[in-house]
Symmetry: C2
Subunit: 287 residues, 2 copies
C-alpha cells in the first residue's frame, strides 16, 4: 500500500488553500512540488518554505506526481483535469480542493484514464481573504476535511486521502459528492449570498446617509463578512451548485417570511418562542 511519506505531492494553484496545504505537508511526504502561473508566487512559496520545488508548467509539474492536488477554482479544476489526464503516471491519485464536488467527481470519472485514481476533497477552511500572502501551515488544523470518492476510487486511495488530511491536522469526513453539495449549499453558499444581499441592501438604502457608516456595527460586520470572498471562486461555486443553492435560498425565504409575518402581525408569543428555539439551536451548533 502506498504510504504518504513516499509520495511526491504536486499542488496546482498556490493560493490560500493550496499554499497552506503545501506548507503543512512538507516534511510529511517525499517531496512537495508547487505549480503556479506567476513566478513571484513560486518565489514566495519557496521563500516561505511551503514547497521543495516550483514550476509554472502544469504538465511538467504533474508528470512525476504520486498525488496531484488541484487547488484552483472549480471550473478551472475541471479544465485542468482534461489537460493533465494524458500525462499522469500509472497509480497517480488526483485530488482537488473545490467547494462543490458532484461536477468535479463526475469530471474525474469521465476524464481520468483507468490507471489514475480520482478522489474529491473539500476542506472546510476557506476564508474571505485569499492568496499565498495569507497562507499558513496551521490552516487545516482541527478542520473538517471532506473526502468524496467516486465509484471507482479504491479503498487504498481513500486511505491515502485520509492520511493526507490527518497529516495536515484535519479531521477527514467521507461523504457522497451530491450529499456534500446539498449540505454545503446551505451551510456555506447560502451564507455567502445572504452576506452579499445584506451589503447590497445597505448600499441601496442607508449607505446614502453618512451617519450609517459610523453606525455600521459588529452585527453587520459579522453577518456580511463572507461577502468579501473571492468572486471568481464564488462564481464557480454558485454555477456548479445551482440547484442546491437555489433550493437553500427558497427555504431561507420561507423562514424569513415566517419571521416577518409574526413581526407584522405583532404575534409576540409566537415570535418569542421561535427566536428562543433558534437561539438554542445555534448554541447547540456552536457550544
Amino acid at each position: 500500500m502506498k504510504s504518504l511519506s513516499d509520495c511526491t505531492v504536486v499542488i496546482v494553484g498556490l493560493g490560500l488553500m493550496g499554499a497552506s496545504l503545501a506548507g503543512a505537508l512538507r516534511g510529511k511526504c517525499a517531496r512537495v512540488v508547487g505549480v503556479a502561473r506567476r513566478a513571484e508566487v513560486i518565489e514566495t512559496a519557496l521563500a516561505r518554505g511551503f514547497i521543495d520545488e516550483g514550476t509554472p508548467n502544469l504538465i511538467a509539474g504533474v508528470r512525476d506526481a504520486d498525488v496531484v492536488v488541484l487547488s484552483t477554482p472549480v471550473r478551472v479544476i475541471i479544465q485542468q483535469l482534461a489537460e493533465i489526464a494524458p500525462h499522469l503516471r500509472s497509480g497517480c491519485v488526483v485530488m482537488d480542493l473545490g467547494s462543490t464536488k458532484k461536477n468535479i467527481v463526475d469530471a474525474m470519472e469521465r476524464l481520468l484514464p483507468e490507471h489514475v485514481q480520482p478522489l474529491g476533497a473539500h476542506p472546510m477552511c476557506g476564508k474571505e481573504t485569499s492568496g499565498i500572502e495569507v497562507a499558513e501551515i496551521t490552516l487545516y488544523r482541527e478542520r473538517t476535511f471532506i473526502l468524496t470518492p467516486s465509484p471507482r476510487t479504491t479503498a487504498e486511495t481513500l486511505a491515502l486521502g485520509v492520511a493526507l488530511a490527518e497529516a495536515v491536522g484535519a479531521k477527514p469526513l467521507v461523504l457522497d459528492a451530491d450529499r456534500q453539495d446539498y449540505i454545503v449549499g446551505t451551510v456555506s453558499h447560502l451564507p455567502y449570498l445572504l452576506a452579499c444581499a445584506l451589503v447590497a441592501t445597505a448600499d441601496a438604502t442607508t449607505s446614502k446617509d453618512p451617519a450609517a457608516w459610523k453606525i455600521v456595527a459588529g452585527g453587520f460586520r459579522d453577518t456580511s463578512r463572507v461577502a468579501g470572498s473571492d468572486v471568481t471562486m464564488m462564481l464557480d461555486i454558485l454555477m456548479t451548485n445551482q440547484a442546491h443553492v437555489l433550493e437553500a435560498v427558497r427555504v431561507f425565504e420561507e423562514q424569513l417570511r415566517s419571521l416577518t409575518a409574526m413581526i407584522a402581525a405583532g404575534d409576540e408569543d409566537a415570535l418569542r418562542a421561535r427566536l428562543t428555539h433558534i437561539r438554542n439551536t445555534r448554541k447547540e451548533m456552536f457550544p
Copy 2:
C-alpha cells in the same frame, strides 16, 4: 453648566451595557449608583468595582440622581420612565441605552415632567452575549455613541450627554431618533433576522444530517452569530421598530431575488459584475 464630574449617575439595569457603562464612568463622576433587581447582580457590580453603591429599589435609587441611565430592554425603559417620573429632582437628565429611539424619545416627551431633561442614547456596542459576567469597562471605547435629543432637550443637556459618551471613550453622534431607527433597522436589526432565518433554514433541512454539524464552517458561524442575541431585548427592538425593519427586509428580499435570478439564468457576466461591486462596497465599509 452642569459638569459630569459633579454628577451622581444612576444606572438602571446592570447587564452587559449598563454594568460596563457604570464601570467606565466610575471615577469620572461624583458617584455611580447601580439599580438591579437581583441582589447577586449588585454584589457582583460592587465586587468588580463597577459601582459605588447599589440598590434593588428603583425609586429610592433615582431620587438623588443628576443623571439617570435606563439600561433595560426598550419596553421596560418605557415602563420605567412612567414609574420614575414623579420622583426625579429638578434638572435631572434622563438617558437610556435602548436600540430603538423614536418610541423612547416620544415616551420621554410625554412622561417626564417639565423640570426633567430627556436624552435618548444608543451606543453601538451590543454583543450576542449578555449579563454582567461579560461586562468590561473597555466596551465603549472607540464605539459610536448615538445621542437622540427630543424637541425639548437643551444644548446643556446634549453637552452633558456628549461628555458622558467621551468619558467612556466613545465617539458621540447626534441623530434624529427616527433617522437612527431607519439606519439601525438596516445595519443591525436586519442582520439579526437574517442570522435567525439562516439558523432556521439549517434546522429545517441539513441539520437532520449528522454530517452537517461537522461541516458547519466559519462562514455560517459568522453569518449566524447575532442569532445568539438576547431574545427579550431583540423582541422589544423588533416590536418598537416594526415599520423600518419590515421595509429593510423588503429591500433585502429584492436584492436576494435579483442575485438568485442571475444564478438561475446562468447570467455569469451580470453576476460577476454584481458580486464584484458588492465585494468592493464591503471593503469600503470595513477598510
